[in-house]
Amino acid sequence: MKRHLISAADLTRDDAVLVLDTAEEMARVADRPIKKLPTLRGRTVVNLFYEDSTRTRISFEAAAKRLSADVINFSAKGSSVSKGESLKDTALTLEAMGADAVVIRHPSSGAPHRLATSGWIKGSVVNAGDGTHEHPTQALLDAFTVRRHLAGAADGGPVPHGAPAGDGTGRDLAGRRITIVGDVLHSRVARSNVLLLNTLGAHVTLVAPPTLVPIGVESWPCEVSYDLDAVLPGSDAVMMLRVQRERMNAAFFPTEREYARRYGLDAARMAALPEHAIVMHPGPMNRGMEITAEVADSERCTAVEQVANGVSIRMAVLYLQLGGALPADSPAAAAGAPTPARTEESE
C-alpha cells in the first residue's frame, strides 16, 4: 500500500482486498468484551477537519482509539484556522506535535494531496473527504458492506436479508452490478466508489439527471444512465447519494418533487430490484428526497450497518498504514519480495 490514502485509485485490487480482509478481523474485535487493541500505542493520529462532519470524525476517532492511538481533534472552527492560518502552517504545527497520521477533511478538492506531497509533514495522510474529489474510506466501507452481503455466503454468493453478516474474506466483487444514483457531479463518494468498485471487479452504473453528471464521465470506468427504472432490475446493489436541496436553486433540477419522482427510491422501485439486492446510503439521508422512509427502514437498507463498517474499515486503514515501520505490503507485492527477518515460529 502507498503511504498515503488520497484516492481510491491509490489502491490496487490486492491492496483493496487486504484492507477489506483486515477490516473483517477488526469487525470481530467489536464483538469482544474488550474492544481495544494495543497495536497503535504511542502513535498519534490527528483528525484535521475543515468541514463539519461529526459522523466521519467520530468514526475515525473510534477507529484510532480502538487501536490505542492517541487522537487529537483539530477542528477548523474556533481554532487558528478560522483566524486565517494557512494549511501549510497548520501542517507544520501538527508535524511539530509529532503526528504519525493526519486524517483530513477539507472543502477544497486536492487539499489532502497537497498536504501529502508538499513536504510539510512526514506522517501518513488519510483523505476523509476533499471537496467534490474523493472519499476513499467511504468507498472502502461501501465495498466492505457489498462484499459481506453479496459475496458473504460460504459459496461466495449473497447472504439472505436479515441473516447475520457474511464473511467474504479473500474475495473481490467480480461481476457484481452496483448502481450509484444521484448527485454524481458533487459527490466525492461516487468518484471514490467508481474507482474502487471497478478495481474490485464490479460493474458500476451511474444514474443521475444529466445536469448532475460530470463532463468527461465517458472516461470513467462505468456506465451512465438517466433512467433509474431501466437499471434497477439488473442491480445487485443500489447506492443512493444524498442530494442537497440547495442544488435546486442552481437549476440542476426543477423541484424536489420532480427529483424524487424520477430518481428517488421508493417501495415500488425497490420491488423491481432482484431478490438479493441491497440498498445503500452513505448518510445522512434525505428521507422523502432520494429515498422514502419505507425503503430506508427496510431490512434491505444497509445504511446503519455502513456506519458500523466504517469503524472497522478505518481501523484497517490506520493499522495498515501505521501498524508497521512502513505501510503493509499487499500479498501480491509481498510474494517474491524479501521478507524481513522472521522466526519460523511466527510463519
Binding site: R32, P33, L37, G323, G324, T339, E344, S346
Partner: protein
C-alpha cells in the same frame, strides 16, 4: 507464506514422528487436565492452527467428546511490529462458548524467543479470563528471551542461532516435516521475533 531462505535440507522429524508426538501430547493433556473436559485449544496462525485441530481430533478420540478448537492471531500484539511493514492479519476464531473459566491450551509449531507466546497471552487477556493457560509446541529450539516455557513439547531440539527450524504441515505445505537448516549468511544475532 513466501520464504526466500534456502529450504533447510535436514529433516529432524518426519510425518510418522509428528503423528506420534501429537498423540503423545494429546495423552499428556488428558492426563494433566484430568480428562480435559474444560480444555479449549487455540492454535497460533498459521501452522499452530493446523496442529491444534489435529490435537483436537486426538483428544476427541481419547475422551469421546468434542474439544473446542480455535485460532488466536497475535499480530496486533507483537512487540516487533515497527521493525517491518505492517503485517496482514490472520484469523482469530474463538469457539462459541468462549474461554472464561476454561483451560486454554495454546498450540504453536516452534517455541523460540517466547515473544509470540507473550503476545498470545496479551491477546488472550483481551478475549476473556481462562481458568489456566498452558502451552503445547511441536518443537522447542531454545534461546528464550522471556521467562516462558512450554507445558507440552513434541521435541526438544538444541539449535544454534545460525540454524533455522521450519515446520511443514500437510494442510498448508503439502507434507509433514520439521526441517533443520542454516540461515544463509545471516548474522548470528538474537532471534528477531518469535
Amino acid at each position: 507464506m513466501a520464504d526466500t531462505r534456502p529450504v533447510p535440507a535436514r529433516p529432524v522429524l518426519e510425518a510418522p514422528d509428528i503423528a506420534r508426538v501429537l498423540t503423545r501430547i494429546a495423552h499428556e493433556i488428558v492426563e494433566r487436565a484430568k480428562g480435559a473436559d474444560d480444555v479449549v485449544l487455540l492454535g497460533i496462525p498459521t501452522r499452530g492452527v493446523f496442529l491444534a485441530r489435529r490435537l483436537a481430533d486426538r483428544l476427541a478420540d481419547i475422551t469421546g467428546r468434542t474439544v473446542p478448537v480455535g485460532s488466536l492471531d497475535i499480530t496486533m500484539y507483537r512487540d516487533d511490529l515497527r521493525l517491518g511493514p505492517a503485517r496482514a492479519l490472520a484469523r482469530t476464531d474463538i469457539p462459541g462458548d468462549g474461554v472464561d473459566g476454561r483451560l486454554v491450551v495454546l498450540v504453536d509449531d516452534v517455541l523460540f524467543s517466547g515473544r509470540t507466546i507473550r503476545a498470545a497471552l496479551d491477546a488472550l487477556g483481551d478475549i476473556g479470563r481462562p481458568r489456566a493457560v498452558q502451552l503445547a509446541v511441536l518443537v522447542d529450539r531454545g534461546h528464550r528471551e522471556l521467562p516462558i516455557r512450554a507445558d507440552y513439547v513434541g521435541k526438544n531440539l538444541p539449535t544454534s542461532l545460525r540454524e533455522t527450524v521450519k515446520v511443514l504441515v500437510a494442510e498448508n505445505d503439502g507434507r509433514d516435516a520439521v526441517l533443520l537448516g542454516t540461515r544463509d549468511g545471516a548474522p548470528a544475532d538474537g532471534p528477531a521475533g518469535g
